[in-house]
């Protein structure tokens, strides 16, 4: 399978994601510059990495969503392509309207950088199929604007459609004050997924607590694409 990793001005996790998909997962991966407007249909998954695109000016992700390549990403997502947004990538997906809701500044007003315990709520997505429902993961966060907000009506819809994919384990583990401890959500169709924690930072046993919990997320995408290929073939 083939990954695309997008670099915006101010992205700083693009190389880490590239390392995981290219070197750890051993899959062909292209890094794509935000200013290109190109057809993404030859890729099996497009990843929007973390960082501070456009300096987080105005609101995190607000300006990046108008970069030329985001038009391609939007078309790609609408055609059913797999899109993963990590941290700032998640914020961009929200601003672009590819996922519902919005980000506020953390309740603590602080930048939080630490391991958090997550609970898998939906293990049926292309991004989480190697986890099991209810499984506890240890994946680090690093953000100041990760306080996910959605109104009651929107929340009811998320729950009804099983769009909440991962939550922080409980109120105590929640690093930002997000609504019902949400850490990551997908769209109704399940092909667009955004999360605040950084799976690319714990995809090898040499890093962090050695759990490799993040690796399984990228491996889930690979499994999903391979299985889909078998079905089509």
């Amino acid at each position: 399978m083939k990954f695309a990793v997008i670099t915006f001005p101010g992205s700083n996790c693009d190389r880490d994601v590239y390392h995981v998909t290219k070197e750890v997962l051993e899959q062909p991966t292209d890094m794509i510059w935000y200013n290109d407007k190109l057809d993404l249909s030859s890729y099996d998954c497009v990843i929007l990495p973390g960082g501070f695109s456009y300096g987080d000016y105005l609101r995190a992700g607000a300006i990046a969503r108008f970069s030329p390549l985001m038009e391609s990403v939007t078309g790609y997502a609408k055609d059913g392509g797999l899109v993963l947004g990590i941290c700032n990538g998640f914020q961009i997906l929200l601003e672009a309207g590819l996922l519902p809701g919005a980000m506020k500044v953390n309740d603590s007003l602080k930048f939080v950088c630490k391991y958090t315990k997550l609970k898998v709520i939906n293990a049926g997505t292309p991004f989480t199929n190697r986890y099991s429902k209810g499984e506890i993961l240890n994946i680090p966060v690093a953000h100041r604007e990760g306080n996910y907000y959605i109104d009651d009506e929107g929340l009811a819809e998320l729950i009804a459609n099983n769009q909440i994919v991962v939550k922080y384990l409980d109120d105590e583990e929640n690093p930002n004050g997000s609504v019902v401890n949400i850490a990551g959500i997908c769209n109704k169709e399940g092909n667009v997924f955004g999360l605040m924690p950084h799976p690319e930072r714990c995809a090898e046993s040499i890093l962090g607590d050695g759990s490799k919990d993040g690796y399984e997320l990228f491996a889930s995408i690979l499994d999903y694409v391979n299985k889909r290929g078998e079905k089509c073939g």
């Binding site: 607000a62 300006i63 919005a102 506020k104 500044v105 309740d107 007003l109 907000y149 109104d151 004050g177």
Partner: protein, 86 residues
Amino acid sequence: MKWKVRIEIMLKENILDPQGKAVKGGLNALGYKNVADVHVGKYMELIIADTDNQEDVNKQVDEMCQRLLANPVIEDYTFQVEKMEG
């Protein structure tokens, strides 16, 4: 014709504003015990040139707020348009 536009963007009223809460705590700690609530927002000024009709300016700025300057999911905005001399 040139127009000066002043835009105020605030978190919607029913949304908890952690920044405002922190500033209120600071003011209360300084002894201003009568400060009951604080909301922190954003203020922007735009100069719009080459537009003759104020209605067109209003319409354009409203669109700008919807599309980029505010996030309508969590923020409300208001703006004033004033004709500039010269």
